[in-house]
Amino acid sequence: MNATALENLQAAFPDATCKVVLDSVVIEVHPENLEETLSRLKNEQDFNCGLLVDVTAIDYLDYPQQQETRFHVVYTIRNWEANLLIQVRTWVVDPEKGIPTATHLWESANWGEREVYDQYGIHFQGHPDLRRILNHWQFEGHPLRKDYPIKKRQVCFDTDSMEDEIRARLLKNGVDEATMKDINTEVMFLNIGPSHPATHGAIRILAALDGETILANVNEVGYLHRGFEKTAEQRTYNQIVPLTDRLNYCSSMMNNIAYVKAVESWLGIEITERAKFMRVVLSEFYRVLDHMVCLAAALVDMGGLTNYWYLYNEKEAAYDFISRLTGARLTSSFTRVGGMYRDFYEGWQDDLETHIRGLEKGMGDALKLVDSNRIVHDRTQGVCVMSAESALSYGMTGPTLRASGVPYDLRKDAPYYNYDSFDFNVPVGSNGDIYDRFMIRFYEMFESIKIIRQALKHIPEGPINVANSQLSLPPKEQVYGNIEGLANHFKLIFEGIKVPRGEWYDSYEAANGELGFHFVSDGSGTPYKLKVRPPCFYTMGAFAEMVEENMIADAVINLSCINIIGGELDR
């Protein structure tokens, strides 16, 4: 597929340099041609890249291979139907002057470019709202620049009022000063969060209300920004696995798997069949757990506390299996580059089967309470509707995008780990309302269990790590028994796995959507740059669009059904 894609792209953009990297085509364009290139890639029928997956920048200050300019900006875009992944790169001559924005093409560019501005200080000409997003407003400098010391801490003394933003948003939605002064309109400003039971973590919602109806909404994120990307630049590849646990902590193992999958794809290693099956089983198991927490919390927000116990108790029981397997309840750190940390323990299949039955029972009981419940239906149907078109434009992926009727699922559209040989369906919503977002998660859990059952039947015996002394730690008998084993172990721990120089992007279908990793390697044992493409960051970017013109109480349940996880949102 990519060979023809490359030819087509090169023919369409003769001035640009195109090359294939893993599953993507990388196009390097002159900054002047950036706008035209992006707009053609989005609008021309041959390319039709409706999804802007991520925007990031790279600072080449310390990179061993000298670059002409210090900063490069990369737009990762996707035509999901044709499984066409394109990265458009351009160089930035002057970060103060910057490059033209892509916000008029994709809504997701808004938050993506704000993050680049915040972290790297690169301006985007014509961006409607270019200000910090992850770091606080009193922050000075740009932390992901290579000359920013990792331990240079900056204290924030006051929270941002966000008054200007909400007023600008009101104006954009057609509520001007005259309307506000009108005797029949009394606009009330309501702030929810960052610490509020409805925000499930630390997110701030500021809404302008007319009665109970939301006229305008702005959100502030970044309260849980804990410097994942900068910290990762100081760790060896395997040391980053525990950091990934803490991205989406409701499904930590999925992050572990997504991360090592990305490293392995660049190293070009094929993991063993057993490891593949283990990853499939555990991915799907965690997908169920993640959806369960989301639904349990969401139903509590709607007033259904019983559901919480039905769902959460089964999840709690499943922790027994996880802690037996990994040694931890929540933070699994169970994968390693080239395989898994350990094999399953003896008798795992029976344990897993027991828990799956428990989970099915919990799901079934909760679903019975919801399925034909008039109150739930009235509360959720036709509320906070998101059309397929705008969901794509905002870069939504995973269950929230599928609820809007777009059947994009990486397990089907760009299969990995033999997903194409499993028999499962991708549930799709019809209206894109809260009801669909709820139900999608219920049905996906049943599909995941279907996959687990199939995988259990076919899981082969065999090694779980690739036999490669450059990647996998030697067995303990060798470490303690001979000098080669000891030296091998020592080098892998201290220097880390050496990853060839280069840049690549790899993605994985996590519980919340497309979880991607954009790496830059300088050939050493630590990544030069590691950018996470978090699914819920872009979903949160669409929040205002979803809730405006709806009631404030709907905004609360909408926030819970899109499953915003702070660790992944703010990294």
Binding site: K151, S195, G222, L224, R226, K230, E316, R329, L330
Partner: protein
Amino acid sequence: MALGLEASLGDTAITTKLDAVVNWGRQYSLWPFVYGTACCAIEFMSTAASQYDISRWGAEVVRFSPRQADLLLVCGTISYKQAPVLKRIYEQMPDPKWVVAMGACASSGGIYDNYCTVQGIDTIIPVDIYISGCPPRPEAVLDALIKIQDQIKGESVLKDRHKDFKGILD
């Protein structure tokens, strides 16, 4: 008709120390405010759920208004962006109040030794009990609760706690 204690005591009077009776009441009716930000908050959910059941210690009345709570449970990483919020919530809680730093991040910054993470919430507000772990198991949360109860036992209504605390935001 008198029921319960007064039925068996009749007209009898009991003498005790004010501290003893007040502390007894405070000890078994802690109302936590869960300042949940990250992974630790998920473990707090488990602590509150059926298997561990925090209500066995009388602390299940989780308040999300600081004005109704006397136990601040900080579950998760606190970034500098969040620090003023945490401080204000602490100040909004009426005295007497106790603070638990749950997990490595709240206690010391944990694995996040970088530009955006507060290196322990005790640089912002006074902390009574620290829980180790990343994240701690629910048993550890219950253990911290018992420790707070023990601490309350030895306190006095006449004494102000943490009067001269000064943090980075003061």
